[in-house]
């Protein structure tokens, strides 16, 4: 008898809670029907954070759904595992645009939509791989330099003028790697004196492997963005290969004793470009967003991004940055005529674009990187 009375209210409870939970879920269901456009973004960490996109979201009634990756290989993997049309806007490392295009992941863009006339540097308008057969597939939005990143209490500014400082005995177990083969091996290639660090023949590649392997005893760990960040900040790592101001800049703003320089062997430029994903249902809004990111306001947001700073690529963007945050502009050399003006550095030949290995294939470099990590 008591069992039955126990049971019956139960069933009613279930109904009650069922109704209640349906009611609760209503606002969420109805929200999906509201006019807000959802833009799916695939990007490096930080590009979809409020400090960059909040204004655009508010002005256009858009909501970004970001998915973050680390490294171009990772980006390609993520796209290929998702149904076509999943991502509306794709931020790609410039050297991977070609492969995005070859795989048919991105749509053609109309060059007239973007302020190419206002670019700081002519080469950036025609960035390798962004155009194919006269068609535009991606627009460069920002860039930055990779060099020697170090803890200023452990490495002097003078020592940091060469990648050789990574081999300093005092740094044993305190040199970290950003866990991606391209920037690290590129730096080793520069140290070996290769003028085009990513276009090297077998002999030079063998030397690069040798140089890299000799660094292994110094290495304290392999890190993703978060780990790199943490490792430098808490002093676990005193020098970092494969990164640059994009990470130390954030820590500097926070008062940490770290810095990045382009050493005498030269530095590497990372380049980031926006594309529109093929099959996007919001291509118009995606275009509008890319236009926004290339507008002076967008360029300022991009240059001052909380996750990691970058250089403005348009003249108007640089001007706006100098007005809005002259300190940051000066810190990063984004002042016309400055000695460390990124454009000047390229013209002087001290900066090479990060590229994909021209003579070996990505897989070969990647496999070596795995071997290096595991050794």
């Amino acid at each position: 008898m008591s069992k039955q009375t126990l049971l019956k209210p139960n069933r009613r409870d279930i109904l009650k809670y069922g109704v209640a939970s349906t009611a609760l879920s209503m606002p969420f269901v109805s929200r999906a029907w509201a006019q807000t456009v959802e833009l799916n973004m695939l990007a490096w960490y930080g590009h979809g954070e409020p400090d960059v996109v909040a204004e655009f979201e508010a002005a256009n009634n858009v909501k970004f759904k970001p998915k973050y990756y680390a490294g171009g290989d990772n980006m390609l993997a993520l796209i290929s595992q998702s149904p076509p049309g999943t991502y509306d806007v794709i931020l790609s490392d410039a050297e991977f645009v070609q492969q995005l295009n070859e795989a048919g992941y991105v749509d053609e863009l109309n060059a007239a939509d973007y302020p190419f006339d206002d670019f700081l540097f002519d080469e950036w308008k025609q960035f390798p791989g962004h155009w194919k057969d006269g068609k535009l597939f991606s627009v460069m939005v920002r860039c930055g330099h990779l060099g020697v990143s170090y803890n200023t209490t452990a490495v002097s500014a003078e020592e940091a003028q060469s990648y050789k400082c990574f081999w300093k005995p005092e740094l044993k177990g305190k040199v970290g790697h950003f866990d991606w083969h391209l920037p690290n091996l590129g730096q080793m290639s520069l140290l070996n004196g290769n003028a085009s660090p990513f276009d090297i023949d077998e002999a030079a590649w063998g030397k690069v492997k040798e140089t890299t392997t000799s660094l292994r005893p110094q290495v304290g760990g392999f890190f993703d963005y978060g780990g790199t960040f943490n490792g430098l900040k808490n002093g676990e790592m005193l020098a970092m290969a494969g990164i640059g101001d994009w990470i130390t800049g954030v820590l500097e703003r926070d008062g940490a004793k770290v810095a990045s320089v382009v050493p005498k062997e030269g530095g590497i430029q990372f380049t980031e470009s926006w594309s529109i994903g093929k099959g996007s249902k919001n291509a118009d809004m995606a275009k509008k967003f890319i236009q926004y990111m290339l507008s002076p306001e967008g360029q300022v947001h991009s240059a001052r991004m909380a996750a990691y700073p970058g250089f403005a690529v348009t003249k108007a963007g640089r001007k706006a940055l100098n007005e809005k945050d002259p300190k940051e502009a000066q810190r990063t050399g984004q002042v016309d005529g400055a000695a460390n003006d990124p454009v000047t550095l390229i013209k002087e030949g001290r900066i090479k674009y990060r590229g994909v290995p021209a003579q070996q294939g990505l897989e070969v470099w990647n496999d070596f990187w795995s071997e290096y990590k595991g050794s």
């Binding site: 490294g71 993997a77 866990d179 392999f222 808490n234 676990e236 990590k373």
Partner: protein, 282 residues
Amino acid sequence: MAEGQRRDFYAWFWRAPLLVWQLLFFVVPLAFMFVMSFWLVKNYRMTPAFAFDNWAKMLGWNIFWSSYAYTMALAVAATILASVLAFPAAYGLAFRVTDTTRRWALFFLIIPFFTSYLVRVYAWQVVLAGNGVISAMLGWVGLGPISLLNTPIGTLVGYLTLSFPLVVILQTISLASIDKTLIEAAHNMGCSPLRTVFSVIIPAAKVGLIVAGLFCFILSFGDFVSPYYLGGSKPPTLSIMIVDSTKSGQQWPRAAVIAVVMILSLLAIAFTAVKFAYRRRG
């Protein structure tokens, strides 16, 4: 006949859900992963094939085997550490406290399962770092600084974070369910407490102790968070290799090879352990 059919329907109604669901979403995915290990990757795209390239590449790659050995060694170390370190605690909880205390202790041991493992690992990062909590505490007594982060010890701390509470729980339960008269008999016969532990209690609780260790091994062997965020991925364990392979170069078939080897190893070890657990003494 109709009655029988209704019976059958009733029986199958309860039997079917597991069969359907686990076949469709457990057995088939694993089988598919095995098939995928024979596929090829061209231009970042997987193409169905029946090729032994991935197997040849992975099994012929010394890095794979050194990573295998490293992963195995760490997991075994974690299992031994957890089992040995948990035993006195489990012994105390099983024999030296009241039932109420034991129930509360078990309740507190369950709590870690409801805090995010990732959050706990992040907290360890801060605690273990060179300028972290442990270092600072050592500094008060004039020692240090010492950093356990990005070392195998860091990884082991993570593994234990994951499995230690479970091992204590399982050991406590299996010790508490030993027939108490057995222990009293040993005691009355003049057996020293330590000897009682080794020749009466441990053999009697063998199954539970081994199962506890096995769980610790499984959890540690497959964890990719601790070796990455506490061990600095130096060198990568097999589970990190899986993540790496899926991330870079779209090498899913290779990741599948690693996964299949891991599963086979786990099955072999689990089988041996269970067999050992139920082996008659003699």
